[in-house]
Symmetry: C2
């Protein structure tokens, strides 16, 4: 029995290896080099290690690239999954740090029932997205149809503006977390907060933690541990300044003070969108 | 004195806020919305909080996006810095997980003395880059001219192939770390390893830690703590599986087994490039 298990593990490794090493990423836009080669004996691999999830990340001008690229790394390791990068048009989109991404789908071509729909955050760019009717309408429809509705950082403010967090516990970047209540969400502590099929992660880097955890849910713990090891995700921040409670007081005050106006603008814009799109 | 210091801190916050909140990113390609507005009183902000670093990230087909986007987030917060994304041509470049980036500069236009030159890793894509003469030649020249020569993940194998790690302590993704000795580097433990002006980070997510640490060196601890808080970088991985020593043994064996062929190919390619470009 032990021997059989060992052999099966060996075969699983070979299959996993062949899949991931030779174009480990599920491709966007149709082709899929990450799919198993027909010659491979899939029966040796745990059946649940291979899925067919459809994953979509929204992007918009001024979004924070790391909010999207962190989780995208994790979800790209889901064998058999297909990832789309969805924007208002197929024109390149510039992130808040100046990175330029080409989307794979535009709104009209991305109205499907995604398994994971993920909205990254940002500052002025997210505010502009909240004020953009077409973007909020797309988030609302894609979110209503998705199996998991997820966000990183201020992406939850966009989800809330679209009426998707009403009655849900949620989180956001610590700066914007208090805004959650304006659209009926309950601000809740946690690196990420899951309430039914809504998963909201706190600021920027929390996307890594939420996504790796969701990989474990969609496959299993061993699979996710493999992905973590592949990413060598053994973080060692040089300071203990990642949360407002652990950062030096003057640092927290400085960063919080940077966003007084943005918070007010987001509160108004999200409140207005929520009221407009969510009338009974 | 206390009052004066408080006022100065307040002014610094206002300046920092205005700079970062209104297009906090140093722009690519010439324009620079992140620069201070002329109306601002810069004398209130510590002079060393504003720099003029030139930062370049190499990208190439099949690179791992997270290796670049993590550090790019951190360096984009350096007030006054300018970041370029450099590739062989200005054509869009596809990452190993299918993300499509538009470079800001091509090799010929990016032969300047960068303050930070950073090379991300990958698997098959990095192997192809090591085999590409033009790419290795560019890495060699840009690296020889840079103030800090840095890498994330298997990016160090590309640095080494270009002869930039000969006689240096260095690290890499744990899978490829043993390869470092083929081009005269000494494999060394650490989330990232700094030896003189070479800084090599281990796999993928280690880019966040090395870059935040370098932000502290280039500005100061308080500045870097502010950036960490902005990124809410208080990581909480769901498992303790980020290093080969802490992951379950069968998981480490599985992931290591995925790369047997790649390691052999990288060893040959990097050894050949090193011998060719680094003859006495």
């Amino acid at each position: 029995m032990m021997e059989i298990d060992r052999r099966r593990v060996g075969e699983a490794i070979a299959a996993f290896a062949a899949l991931l090493a030779s174009g480990r990423a599920p491709a966007m836009g149709g082709e899929s080099p990450g799919r198993v080669a027909p010659s491979h004996d899939m029966s040796a691999m745990p059946a649940h290690w291979h899925g067919k999830e459809r994953v979509a990340f929204l992007i918009y001008p001024g979004f924070t690239a790391l909010d999207m690229v962190g989780p995208q790394y994790m979800f790209a390791s889901l064998m058999g999954a297909k990832i789309d990068i969805v924007a208002k048009s197929l024109e390149p989109v510039r992130s808040d740090t100046g990175l330029i991404f080409t989307p794979s789908k535009k709104f009209d071509d991305a109205l499907v029932d995604f398994d994971i729909f993920c909205v990254p955050g940002g500052t002025q760019g997210t505010l502009a997205a909240i004020r953009d009717e077409a973007t909020v309408a797309y988030v609302r429809e894609a979110g209503q149809r998705a199996r998991f509705v997820t966000s990183v950082c201020t992406g939850s403010i966009l989800l809330g503006a679209a009426g998707l967090l009403d009655g849900y516990r949620a989180t956001s970047h610590w700066v914007t977390k208090p805004l959650l209540s304006i659209f009926g969400a309950t601000p809740t502590d946690g690196r990420f907060v899951r309430d039914r099929n809504r998963i909201t992660a706190e600021g920027v880097t929390a996307g890594l933690d939420f996504a790796l955890s969701l990989v474990a849910d969609l496959r299993d713990e061993k699979y996710a541990q493999g992905v973590q090891l592949l990413a060598q995700y053994a973080p060692a921040p040089p300071f203990n300044s990642g949360e407002p409670e652990t950062a030096p007081k003057d640092v927290t005050k400085m960063i919080d003070g940077m966003f007084t106006q943005l918070k007010q603008d987001m509160r108004e814009a999200a409140g207005a969108a929520y009221a407009k799109y969510n009338k009974p």
